[in-house]
Symmetry: C2
Subunit: 357 residues, 2 copies
């Protein structure tokens, strides 16, 4: 953790700020180790302060030994100027996408009242850019999560028969992942069958699964806060010709992207590798989302792999590759793996087989 | 749902706005019925628009029949001015605590570029104030959730023996609630035993539970998005004299608050009813959080029942009453029920017994 704060400090110079005020939950956890749901970090070149309330003070001291823990109460406009004063700095960065309009107004007016010569500077993706590069410990947690998820799908699928509801299938999968050591699900499992599978983000319904229809299963396990993310599309019994045709296009697109991606490409370039395959098969309009996203403490984080993404994919990043084709009134197919880029090699962490048909 | 939008429209006049832009997830669901994780509502006196992306358009049409569904893509600064232009209004309210500083800046500059004569007006607690008063359908869901949670605790506790870990106990409780019909947990179950119980928001650990120590169990079920919230503190075998003494103080404080609360009191006044009992017993400093909070689509919502709260507690509100005493190095006791105020009567929805000792 100290190492992470050390990596952050040069970024304060780069952003022309003397200190940074962190409230975003995963950023807070990443830098400090503190897992509570409320608290703020103040990090300058000299100091590392974690401010939290009564409920979390003891936990913060245990989890974040590298930080000076300060107990706060009352509104933020009361304690914020005091903490800032203690840092003895002038330009304080804040996370522009994590701080609400209301909080920003409250902070600026509390500083104005104190007539402090302090500026609040909006900052973008400072900690997120650090989080995008995983260290060995983080990679290890994601690998563990992937292994738990892989095993759970293998274990439950033999017992899945036509007539089971989407919700029941999702619950069996969740139960098995939890029993195998996963923490609370990083995101709600998607089980979308038949025409429901045409909705990329369908929620499991009471609909019963029948033979021959596509069943999209999108799921992840979580270990020490770190997620995995897998999608498989399966079919009970024989799929129709549409299923087989679409499946092969999506699988081809996914494997092409994984096999031809290169370190140093942008997110857009990697997206194009898969998108071209789908477009050439005449389904460009049926693939309406990006190809993938980073995975870590958040189930969706940097880098973004999709149209317009200028994120450079480099060593240490962990992300999904998940092309899909969605056809209203029929269903959809998506195939997704979590990939780690290590020493110029794209390693697939989620190893569940793709031959469930 | 239409009825909810009808209740909202007079509030637009009160806030001196022509339309309101809603992004906060529970507010969006409450007004529209749309359960997706991304989307925005635009509500004027004449129009109800739901803007969402590719992933959710079909779902939005099904779930939110009272809204005109508009598909959006690209950044918010691209589609926001178009939608605003369609409303043909001048003063647009936005949720000041839900819109980030970055989004606010993006929206104002996109409007400025178009040279539209449109103002963005920060609004506070507009939809939240509606959500605080539950209708019969909402109350019904919360009651169902409470019944599921009650039954689950009754069902699992006989099998709980010394040596079980906090995590295992939490998992048994979650499994039972889910099997009994709960959706995904509204918040992570707390099981905090022994000295861990001194942390009001402890997470379940691998610590094994032993006889005689306090075990705080804080849990809720969820039905159609609506939560219940219960805490019981139990003890395997005989509690020590501290346990019994503290338990009786906390229970006395809780029952006093429930029995003497009156419709029309402020959140602060109801808090004081319980706090006075705990202070008089010499433990005022060991009760460091508010007495309670509203429960509904969010596990924590309006009203706030605690020091300084001016929220008036009126008919239709559903909230918790949860005093606690926390003693570092020993543990803690908290007892919590979800209460509905209906026709001047404070009805306890969570009926699990308080005599687990």
């Amino acid at each position: 953790m100290n190492n992470r704060v050390d990596r952050l400090r040069p970024l304060l110079f780069e952003n022309n700020i003397d200190a940074i005020f962190i409230t975003q939950q995963e950023n807070r956890r990443y830098l400090s180790g503190f897992t509570g749901s409320a608290g703020s970090l103040f990090i300058s070149q000299e100091k590392s302060i974690l401010a939290t309330d009564f409920r979390y003070v003891e936990q913060a001291k245990t989890e974040a030994p590298g930080f000076e823990v300060v107990q706060i109460s009352n509104g933020i406009s009361k304690w914020f100027p005091d903490l800032i004063a203690e840092l003895a700095v002038q330009r304080i960065g804040f996370e522009e996408t994590a701080v609400s309009y209301a909080t920003y107004i409250e902070l600026t007016s509390s500083l104005r009242e104190r007539k402090e010569n302090i500026s609040l500077i909006p900052c973008k993706r400072v900690v997120e850019s650090l989080r995008a590069i995983k260290d060995e410990e983080e990679l290890n947690y994601i690998e563990k999560a992937a292994t738990i998820a892989d095993a759970a799908l293998e274990e439950i699928l033999p017992s899945v028969e036509p007539g089971i509801s989407e919700q029941e299938l999702a619950w069996r999968l969740e139960t098995r992942m939890r029993q195998n050591g996963s923490e609370v699900m990083p995101f709600q499992i998607i089980v979308a069958s038949g025409t429901n599978a045409a909705l990329p983000h369908a929620k499991p319904s009471m609909k019963k699964i029948i033979e021959g229809e596509p069943i999209v299963i999108d799921f992840g396990a979580r270990v020490n806060g770190y997620s995995s993310d897998t999608t498989r599309t399966i079919c009970l019994g024989k799929g129709d010709t549409t299923f087989n045709r679409i499946y092969d296009i999506v699988l081809g697109a996914q494997l092409t992207a994984i096999e031809t991606a290169q370190a140093g490409m942008t997110g857009e370039q990697i997206d194009t590798l898969a998108r071209t395959v789908i477009e050439q098969a005449g389904h460009g309009n049926n693939f309406g989302h990006g190809l993938g996203h980073g995975v870590g403490l958040a189930a969706h984080e940097e880098p973004r792999i999709g149209p317009g993404s200028k994120d450079i994919i480099i060593d240490g990043m962990v992300f999904t590759i998940e092309p899909g084709i969605y056809i209203a009134g029929w269903g959809g197919i998506r195939i997704e793996d979590t990939i780690a880029l290590r020493e110029n090699s794209f390693n697939i962490l989620t190893k569940t087989r793709k031959t469930w048909r």
